[in-house]
């Protein structure tokens, strides 16, 4: 493995995340996957281990605002279970808008409990008719005196129903199009805010994916994030910052599959020798390892760049998410091939890993959208040089 020259603290974070994942997630992952059961037990263990606030500054109760450290933990958790990994990461997605755009009061009110892992957060952008085309959202927030009245339904919201703190993008002024959206912080239990159906999914099955339903939900204007009209900017800046986390989730899933394939190849005997001695298998393993390492290097480099204070990281963040998720998909499918028929069975974890990997190519912007974004940035950059 490449030496990423981790500091002692970073090694500690990585090893602790691995330890908690192995002790608290590994024995349950199959059960949670089959039952679609939310992994509260795991989330409580991450909270007790102080792993929930890695991306949050210390004065807000976190461990020092590091995208890199957050990626390390997300990777190790996802190496054991991608569903638990996204549950962990989605709380960061849901709270990043507050971290980026909250007033000091808003941050103080919401971040410490999220940093301590006492509460989870969720991010609500997608709707039935607005996926990649986020500007098409129809949920409205109408100002009435000191309040906004929210109406509409968000779809497929990770941690929906389980989280206490929701950041929501809604239209405050439809006429202004993309400039007419605004971001809000909404607490679970606010009258008029309920949860719709919980999805039955292909993978990351323990993660909760649910509808958020708003019916004349009245929220005070102090719950507005940033200014009216900033909704899509809040959303886009948030996603830029959290994409390396999805990259880390994908790297973790890929590494988990590589671990399993390697172990199995050394144990499985056919034609009188372990299949690991067959060159065709060796080559698959070599590609899996190289691709996983390349994905990790890209994710880490991007996270370090963000932590170092670079302002423009849209392009590397998209590249990291794109490459790592495509890698996770390929590597998990290859792992099934190495395990043969056993890999197709639920007794072995690689079929689950492949099911979990698929989502990383879809959420937080599909990989087609990432490619659009990358190409656009490239062309813009090239044009500006002439």
């Amino acid at each position: 493995m490449l030496d990423y020259l981790l500091t002692e603290e970073q090694q500690m974070i990585r090893d602790l995340a691995r330890k908690v994942a192995l002790e608290k997630v590994l024995p349950k992952r199959l059960e949670w996957d089959e039952a679609g059961e939310f992994p509260w037990e795991a989330m409580k263990a991450f909270s007790a281990a102080d792993l929930c606030g890695l991306y949050i500054p210390e004065d807000l109760g976190g461990m020092g605002q590091s995208v890199f450290n957050f990626c390390l933990a997300t990777e190790e958790i996802s190496r054991v279970c991608g569903g638990v990994g996204v549950t962990f990461a989605a709380s960061a997605l849901g709270s990043t808008p507050i971290l980026l755009y909250g007033t000091p009061e808003q941050k103080k009110k919401y971040m410490p409990e999220i940093a301590a892992g006492k509460k989870l957060a969720a991010f609500g952008l997608t709707e039935a008719n607005a996926g990649s085309d986020a500007a098409g959202i129809e949920t409205t927030a109408k100002k009435e005196g000191d309040y906004y009245i929210i109406n509409g339904t968000k779809q497929w919201i990770t941690n929906g129903g389980e989280a206490d703190t929701y950041t929501l993008i809604a239209m405050t002024d439809k006429a202004k199009g993309a400039r007419g959206a605004s971001a809000f912080i909404i607490e679970k239990g606010t009258p008029g805010f309920t949860f719709g159906k919980k999805e039955n999914k292909m993978g990351i099955r323990c993660s909760a994916t649910r509808e958020l339903v708003f019916q004349d939900c009245k929220v005070h204007k102090s719950q507005l994030l940033s200014k009216e009209g900033m909704g899509f900017i809040v959303a886009m800046k948030t996603l830029d910052l959290t994409r390396p986390g999805i990259g880390a989730q994908a790297v973790g899933i890929a590494q988990g599959a590589l671990d399993e394939a390697l172990k199995y190849a050394r144990e499985r005997v056919q034609f009188g020798k372990p299949i690991a001695s067959i060159q065709a298998i060796q080559h698959i393993l070599a590609d899996m390892a190289t691709q996983t390492e390349a994905a990790r290097a890209l994710v880490y480099a991007c996270a370090r760049m963000i932590d170092a204070g670079h302002k423009d990281y849209t392009l590397p963040a998209s590249e990291a998410k794109l490459f790592a998720s495509d890698t996770a998909m390929k590597v998990t499918i290859d792992a099934i091939q190495v395990l043969g028929g056993y890999g197709y069975m639920k007794e072995y974890p690689v079929e689950k890993m492949a099911r979990d990997a698929k989502i990383t190519q879809i959420y937080e912007g599909t990989n087609q959208i990432q490619r659009n974004q990358i190409a656009l940035a490239l062309i813009k950059e090239s044009a500006s040089k002439k």
């Binding site: 603290e9 500690m12 974070i13 602790l16 263990a45 281990a49």
Partner: protein
Amino acid sequence: MDIIVCIKQVPDTTEVKINPETNTLIREGVPSIVNPFDENAVEAALQLKEKHGGKVTVITMGPPQAAEALKTTIAMGADEVVLVSDRAFAGSDTWATSYTLSQTIKKLGKFDLILCGKQAIDGDTAQVGPGIAEWLGIPQVTFAVKVEVNDSKLTVERMLEEVNEKVECPLPAVITVVKQMNEPRLPSLKGMMRAKKAEIKTLSAAEIAGDPKNLGLNGSPTNVVRIFTPPPKGGGEILAGEPDEIADKLIAKIRERKII
């Protein structure tokens, strides 16, 4: 409530290998851990502290590298740790160990409760906890599976072979705990960082005012004559067939061996 927990650093294996020539443990290449029962004792102490407030102090007698075991307990949440370490302690048996620990506890001053593991997975005598209680002249309750404190009264459930026994005793007291008592917590990141930075306070034989006649090899009346691996028990024989047949076979075998 001030709680003292005694922990021992042990090799990470229940199958300790023994050097047949020297009759000593082969420790090389075996990583060290906190004696598992002692982690239960630390967990019990932390839970009592969470409920009643106070302080958890963890102590160990051992060589300088036993500081690592103490750091593990800081990462779990121990407030203070003390390493009792001196060449004079080398070769201690349970008499000398419990004496040394009791002197340390006296030196530390005020305490309400002392927790030990049921036994160490290497020495296995289960004598050190009771020994400490004797040296200090306070009550002891062994094999605790549940502990409650009300005012200055202790209610302990002891796990015996067939039944559990509930006993009460005044504080201060020594309790030894079994693993069924709780599930030791994992370390936390803040705890690990605190452990990394922690300077481990070390006390010498002179500092605990230990009487040399109770210390180390010279102060140890026990003489381990030989340590050996007993031959494995022979596997039993299972008789198959109809009940009548089995009974006949069994009687034949008993007769064969002239048992009746």
